[in-house]
Symmetry: none
């Protein structure tokens, strides 16, 4: 007897409006920042009724998340080469990551989403599942391959290892303490690999 929440029919959804909203959100977050980003402004910029946003997204963070995802998908998923030279492979990827985090096109929305995810568990989960974990999984796979090849200690905890690679970069990016240079990325890779090197001692 109770009324259903009325889920909209996604088959009849206007692709035109969806794109306009995603684009408007990305533009505006770059112009005014996440704090001053409003649903009303997105709707106005996109030439769309507010209800069209509320119908399809639960929050402005969710809109921005989809905007960011659309942006990421254009540039392909996370690829981590396996040339056999672990150090070279890791440096390549960590340098690329540093560059991406420095690019305002990615930096601004990602920063806003990370900030917002502190208060918004649903967003935090999505961000982890769709953005963070795929990237970390690629790292883990590459490290596993290296461990199997005997390049790093068989007792190394791969999860901890990848966090030691990614954590320092993330720290600099979030806290803006120092610039994210290639030299920094290289330095992190070198120290971590030396720490994980196979040897007589245990980890």
């Amino acid at each position: 007897m109770s009324e259903q929440p009325r889920t909209p029919d996604s088959a009849r959804r206007s692709e035109r409006s969806r794109r306009a909203i995603l684009d408007a959100a990305l533009e505006l977050v770059g112009e005014v920042g996440f704090g001053k980003l409003t649903i009303e402004a997105i709707a106005a910029r996109a030439g769309v009724g507010k209800q069209t946003i509320y119908r399809w997204w639960p929050s402005k963070a969710s809109v921005l998340f989809d905007s960011f995802l659309a942006l990421s998908e254009d540039s392909g998923g996370p690829v981590l080469p396996d040339t056999g030279d672990l150090e070279a492979d890791l440096k390549l990827v960590l340098r690329a990551t540093a560059d991406e985090l420095a690019d305002p096109k990615y930096d601004l929305p990602l920063r806003a989403l990370t900030a917002e995810s502190q208060h918004d568990p649903a967003l935090a989960r999505e961000l982890n599942e769709k953005v963070l974990e795929p990237q970390l999984a690629a790292f883990e796979a590459r490290l596993r391959s290296a461990r199997d090849a005997g390049r790093i200690s068989p007792r190394a905890d791969l999860r901890v290892a990848l966090e030691m690679l990614v954590g320092p970069l993330y720290h600099r990016w979030m806290l803006r303490t120092l610039p994210l240079t290639h030299a920094y990325a290289d330095s992190v890779v070198e120290t971590v690999l030396r720490g994980l090197a196979p040897g007589p001692e245990s980890v």
Copy 2:
């Protein structure tokens, strides 16, 4: 000919109101979270006029920052022991840091401040100067002492080294990927120290 911004006279400031505002902010951020924390609610809870908040703080983030600072000062500044055993000293501090980050009393406001500092450069600077840098400086001093004692490679970049210690913890805390255990802290310390160990090769 232009009008001055009229800075208030801090000598006549009401200490009673200042404390009440700081306490109210800390209570409320724990109850409703930063997103729903409002200046009006802080003023009401503190039994204070809104103008008394606007007179002394530029934003609610700034109020919360001072609340957090008052909280931190109660528990003393950053101390990093120098027993001569670098590994033991670092593990002790990193375990303590992990515990603090897991304590809701510190976790909630610090998380909110970090999130907010992404949109608020003034807050970001204050957070760096007053909270982050003192802690990092203590780490750096301890590492310098160890390098001078020949415990770590003379070529090691101390700044990078400390970011490799702190970064992985920060990563787990911010992104809530896995729990911040003592074992994790120990593992990070061990790997980093092995990576920094003095030896025939260069860094």
Copy 3:
């Protein structure tokens, strides 16, 4: 290039809200007086958002004016009988006017509006056009009819004549010097008519 003020679409206006606001304003002005009448209180009493008042009225005086107009319209427009007996007709109307000005239902809001119109030219104009002039015009018409019938001097200035009838009542009402009795109204009519009587002398 400049932004339009964005006038709302009156076709979509909520009649329910409009009535509630008008009623609330009238109630409150009777309870607390115009000085302590606030938009916030009107909105709260009417169960309406403040913006709904700001959307349709420029000031609280304007709201009250509409309230008063709605009140007046319920009791019909200004009617001035023409029985042929000028003195009787004028006494009837002036007595009725005195009674109305003494009725708190009309007295309070009209007094508030008159007071406010001293600072608010737009309100003053509206009050003149929609309330005062229609009444004065009715008087003037009746006097013209009397002049045409030879009951008053053909040289009499009708505008001055009607102000001499209405002015003394208005004076007592505004300044609250003495009560507005029927005897007073009669006395004014008698003296004015004797002063306007046709005779050998000129006006």
Copy 4:
């Protein structure tokens, strides 16, 4: 047990501040009108602490009233000549009254005070006692003199008579319907005097 209201010692009052406040109030009411006149602005303009105003006056209307009184006293009290020619005497005074009401120096504050007195009984009483009644009493005395001399009907109600002289002018002034000309003043005097003329009939 109850606290006395603490009346200040008027002997130690600063005449300098009193004058500065009165002047500032008069200036400001001319510049921004009564509605936007604030105690803070008066204090600032007068170079005076707010408390000095609150110490000596109960409301801003009361301040303005004293300002107006000081202004009036400079130009002498109400004088109504008695040359024996009643019509000439009345025309002289009513023309002077019309001129004064048209002079912004008197018009603005008097208008503000009259408006405010609608909500403020204490002000209304003071305005009546100190400003209005002295003037009306002068009129009444002159009319009594004329009645004693047989120039107007012995049965005339002098109070009504003077309200018929003053009321029409007041009506035009308050409601700004038409300009306050000398011709209008004359016309009122003539009609009233004809209406009050002694004759065979009764009043």
